[in-house]
Symmetry: C2
C-alpha cells in the first residue's frame, strides 16, 4: 500500500456534451465538471452515463487533457478506461496515470458474453501489468444490465490477491443491494472501496462500510447527494435519502441519459446540451416538457448551473 | 446502383494470430488469408471470430494495410467496421473504402442495450453519410447472442429506403433459420444479399435466394464449404451439407474461437496460432487433444495449410 489519498464520496459519471456535428464539446464539458466539483462531487468521467463507449479513445484523451489543462484537480477524477480491446484499455489507463488521475473505473471487456473469470482476470491483470504504475488505483465496474459481463466475488478475490495495491474497489451498478452487501462483507475491511451505482443505496452502503456512490443523477442533483454522504451519521439522514429517492424517481421515468441532458439544457439555459450520440436518441419535446414539469412540481433546482 | 461487383459466396471471419506479447502478427495473418483465398473463400476479416473487438482501430488498420500491401485482392474483403463509437466506425469504414474493400460488415453499436430502431438507423446513417463514398457496400450484422442488439426487418426497410445503393445485405448469425428466411422473403428480390451466419444454413439459404455464408468454420474447412456453394444446385448437395454439419459439430463441442486456432496450430504445425487475447482463453491441452482426436476420426484435413 502507498500513501496516495483514496477517492471517496459522491462522484458523477459526467454526461458528455456534443456539438451540432456530434463532436464532443470540451468547453461545455469543462464548465460542467467545474460546477460538479463546486458541489463537492468528484468526476467519474467516461462512464456509462457519459456515453463513453460512443467516444473513440482519442476523443476521451482529448477531453481528459482539456479538464487538466483547465486546472481541474486530477486527484478528483476516476475516468472510465475499460474497453473491449486490451490495447485501448492500456492506452487510456496509462494516459489517466500520466495526468495524475486518482483512480480509473474499469469495465470488463464486454463484447464476448459468457467469458470465464480466468479470461477476465487475465484482462485486468494485463492492463495493470502493462501500465506498470505503482500509483494506479483500479475500481472494477459491475454493470450486468448493460455490459452483460459480471464481476464476481471470486474474480475480485483473485485480483486482490495478485494486485493488493492496485485493486482499490468497485462500482456496483447491478441494482441489487444484496450483491453490493456481499462485496462489502467480503472485502470492505481489507480496504476495498465499494461505491454504490446510484444514490438509492448511498445510505445503506455507508452504514455497511462503503465508500460512497457514483450515480447518474449526481449529474443533476449533486449538492444534496454529496450532503447525504457528508452527514450520513446525523439525524435526518433517512429523510435526506427519501428526498433523493423522489428526485431520482422522476428521472427514472424517462430514458436516463437524455433526461439528464434535458435537465441540464433547461436549468442551464443551454439547449445544445440536449444532444446525444447515436444509438441514443434525445427526449422528444413532449418528454422534455413532462420531465421539467414533474421536476418543477418537486421544487427541483440546480443551484449555480446557469451562472457559470 | 453502380456496377461494382457484389461479394457473394463463402467468406471466413478470419481468426487473428497473436504473438507471445499478444500483438497481432501480420505475417501469419497474410499467410492465412492467402490460403483462404486459395480455397475460394473470401475474407470477412475483423468479425466476431477474428476477436476484432479485442483489437484497437489502429491494429485493425495496420492488419488491413498489410493484406493489401501483400497483394491480396481487396475486392474479396469485407472487413468488420462497426464499433461502439460512431467516430471509430467512420474511421474504419472510410479506411476500408480507401483501400478498395468490396464491402464492410457492420455491427450495430453494442454497448447500450434496448436501444431504439431510430437510434440504430441514425447510427448506420451517420456512418454512410460521413464516409460519403458511392462505392460503399454495407452489410449489417445481426448477432443477438453476442451483440445483444438485434437488426430488425423494420430497420433494414428504413435503411434500404434511405440508402438503396449502400445497404447491400446482411449477415444473420442469430442461429434462427426462420429469421434468415424472413429477411430473404422481404428483401432478397430487391437485391439485398443475405449471408447465413454459418454453413449450417448454407444450402437452405441458397435455395431461398441467399448470397452465401460467412462462417467461423470457413477458417478451417474452407474448400468443402466453398464447394457446396459452387454446386448447391447439383445432385449430392444434401450429402455435402451433411458432411459439413458433422465437421462443424465437432468444433461446436469446444469454445469456437480457441478451437479454430487450435486446429490451425495443429494442422499448420505452428503452435503460436493457439494464442487468444483476453477475455478469451486458449483450449487446455486436454481440450486440444480431444478436438484433434475427434477431427482425425472424421478424417478431417486442411489441405495446403502446412506447406505455405
Amino acid at each position: 500500500m502507498t500513501d496516495v489519498p483514496r477517492i471517496t464520496g459522491v462522484l458523477s459519471p459526467v454526461v458528455t456534451p456534443f456539438g451540432a456535428d456530434l463532436a464532443p464539446d470540451p468547453e461545455r464539458f469543462v464548465r460542467q465538471c467545474r460546477w460538479l466539483l463546486s458541489q463537492n462531487v468528484g468526476l467519474a468521467i467516461f462512464g456509462t452515463n457519459s456515453e463513453a463507449n460512443s467516444l473513440s479513445v482519442e476523443e476521451k484523451i482529448e477531453l481528459l487533457d482539456r479538464l487538466v489543462a483547465a486546472g481541474l484537480d486530477p486527484a478528483r477524477m476516476m475516468p472510465g478506461t475499460g474497453c473491449c480491446a486490451l490495447t485501448d484499455s492500456v492506452r487510456l489507463t496509462a494516459h489517466a496515470m500520466k495526468v495524475g488521475c486518482g483512480g480509473v473505473l474499469m469495465l470488463p471487456p464486454f463484447y464476448y458474453k459468457g467469458v470465464s473469470d480466468d479470461g477476465l482476470f487475465r484482462s485486468f491483470a494485463e492492463v495493470i501489468e502493462r501500465v506498470g504504475d505503482a500509483r494506479l488505483r483500479v475500481y472494477v465496474y459491475h454493470i450486468p444490465p448493460v455490459a452483460q459481463v459480471p464481476i464476481t466475488l471470486g474474480l475480485v478475490e483473485r485480483l486482490l490477491a495478485a494486485y493488493p495495491a492496485q485493486v482499490a474497489g468497485m462500482k456496483d451498478s447491478g441494482g441489487d443491494w444484496s450483491n453490493t452487501k456481499a462485496f462489502l462483507d467480503a472485502f470492505a475491511k481489507a480496504g476495498f472501496d465499494v461505491f454504490a451505482g446510484s444514490e438509492t443505496f448511498l445510505l445503506q452502503n455507508m452504514r455497511h462500510g462503503g465508500a460512497g456512490c457514483i450515480s447518474a443523477t449526481a449529474n443533476v442533483h449533486p449538492g444534496p447527494i454529496a450532503r447525504l454522504y457528508d452527514t450520513w451519521r446525523a439525524e435526518g439522514a433517512d429523510a435526506q435519502q427519501a428526498r433523493l429517492d423522489v428526485i431520482r424517481g422522476v428521472f427514472q421515468k424517462f430514458p436516463m441519459i437524455p433526461a439528464l441532458k434535458a435537465a441540464i439544457a433547461h436549468h442551464g439555459h443551454d439547449a445544445g446540451w440536449a444532444s446525444v450520440r447515436p444509438p441514443l436518441v434525445a427526449l422528444t419535446s413532449a418528454q422534455s416538457t413532462a420531465l421539467i414539469t414533474e421536476l418543477d412540481a418537486q421544487r427541483f433546482t440546480m443551484p449555480g448551473l446557469a451562472i457559470r
